[in-house]
Symmetry: C2
Subunit: 277 residues, 2 copies
């Protein structure tokens, strides 16, 4: 199919979080007939887990991912244990929300460290420990490779290949990938690695656009169609491999979309998803 299924549009709540509370976002999705949602932990904590769960069910929304777990590395065993315990709570919350997966931003270098491969080993070990908790409970963990510009501070898993390697090593029962085009569109091995992943590992698919020029490392993502990513071609590639999940829009945009009327943002998301998704 050339155009995307409009019912597969999902809204990552970060896209309008500056304007709306989580309750307003849930109601906004329902009002605009956006059927998927991916909320963030701090927003859920503010609204209350059970209240969030109730509202999402009441409006018939699918939780396409829960943002987020991860941040595994730490400078000592105690810090890493605290991270694990926090991740276990995130798994419990994701279960309560009936989320398709817990999205993992795996963490970067521990404070003061220059040991990137050591951090990567800590991610593997932390993920392995979390799987011992998530697997028996039936919650999928989705490793999200982040753009290499976040290797130091947010995630030292920066390519689809690394994420696939982790799935190979730890087993892909309840473990897979969250593919965000903002982070991976540049990867010369994109097609090769999603093929290697296959539909079993493709747990989430996030879209937005890469603006050229980009003004800010963190909060200058583009609306679909405003940048240089051939979103449709990538979406067709993952669907050709059997991905049947949602297309989750996640836009951090301090100077543009976060300043607009959120109803307008949702209308534009729907239109651009149809045109470019």
């Amino acid at each position: 199919m050339h155009q995307p299924d409009p019912h597969k549009l999902s809204l990552n709540t970060a896209t309008v979080r500056q304007q709306w509370t989580l309750a307003q976002i849930i109601e906004g999705c329902a009002r605009h007939d956006i059927r998927g949602i991916s909320p963030w932990r701090d927003q859920v904590a503010e609204l209350g887990l059970l209240q969030t769960s109730r509202m999402i069910k009441q409006h018939g929304l699918t939780v396409t991912g829960y943002c987020r777990g991860g941040m595994f590395p730490g400078n000592d065993e105690a810090e890493r244990r605290r991270h694990l315990q926090d991740n276990q709570r995130a798994v419990d919350e994701a279960l309560e929300l009936n989320a398709a997966c817990l999205v993992l931003v795996v963490g970067g270098l521990p404070a003061g460290s220059k040991d990137l491969s050591g951090a990567r080993n800590q991610v593997r070990d932390g993920l392995s420990a979390l799987l011992d908790y998530s697997r028996p409970r039936g919650m999928n963990l989705a490793i999200e490779p982040l753009h290499p510009m976040y290797a130091a501070d947010r995630a030292c898993v920066n390519t689809l290949s690394q994420a696939n390697d982790l799935c190979d090593e730890l087993g892909d029962d309840g473990l897979g990938l969250a593919i965000d085009l903002y982070h991976t569109w540049w990867d010369p091995n994109f097609q090769q690695e999603i093929t290697r992943a296959g539909s079993k590992r493709l747990l989430a698919f996030h879209i937005c656009d890469w603006l050229n020029p980009t003004q800010d490392l963190l909060e200058d993502r583009g609306m679909m169609g405003d940048g240089v990513i051939n979103i449709r071609a990538f979406r067709q590639s993952v669907e050709a491999l059997g991905y049947i999940g949602f297309h989750e829009v996640e836009i951090f945009s301090r100077k543009n979309w976060w300043m607009r009327d959120p109803d307008e943002v949702l209308r534009v998301c729907k239109a651009r998803h149809k045109e470019h998704g």
Copy 2:
């Protein structure tokens, strides 16, 4: 050797170009006993090619690379031919300066394009055409993989693996890699790909640091030691493979190093090279 050979420090002129003319930079390198220099084309044009060449010889400096050729992609054949002709002139200038190599920033997407793999094919074709010119004249071309955050606007060759693939495909006679740690420190295949490259292909080695946090995509590079890159370990890795060239410092830093007394910048470069290089 644990510490770097201090005589292998080279200064990419971008590091103090906001404060000094090229003539002042050449004299500054000589005054500070920095024996390598890597000038940019616009500065050379301003000072004059022959005058630059004379001054560099007079002060006994080694030109560790000439910045820069590349920018191969274009929207039509005429644009690409103009780029090729400009690159041929850059080869001639590099020869006049007796540069170790012409550094190639290969270019990103042509204006309005979303076809990244097409741009990569144009890079391969443009590079192939330029090799027909550079090889008989004996000037090395050094492909510099740029950080993926520059894939759209500056270089669609973003990994050492891609650069090695180009060397495999086009032959590595007169063709190799410029390894800049700012662009490649995050690469999980760094060791594997420099091993694959081997000393024959290692034509240049650029250093600076990745600041955490980084404030700007282009002009917030760090002085060695101020960031998260284990520069010494990387330098030892390339030298263990047989690299015997210079360590070229290239720092774009609008709000810090470009605002300082350039004599101080050069003193700090030397000290930090010794401590962290």
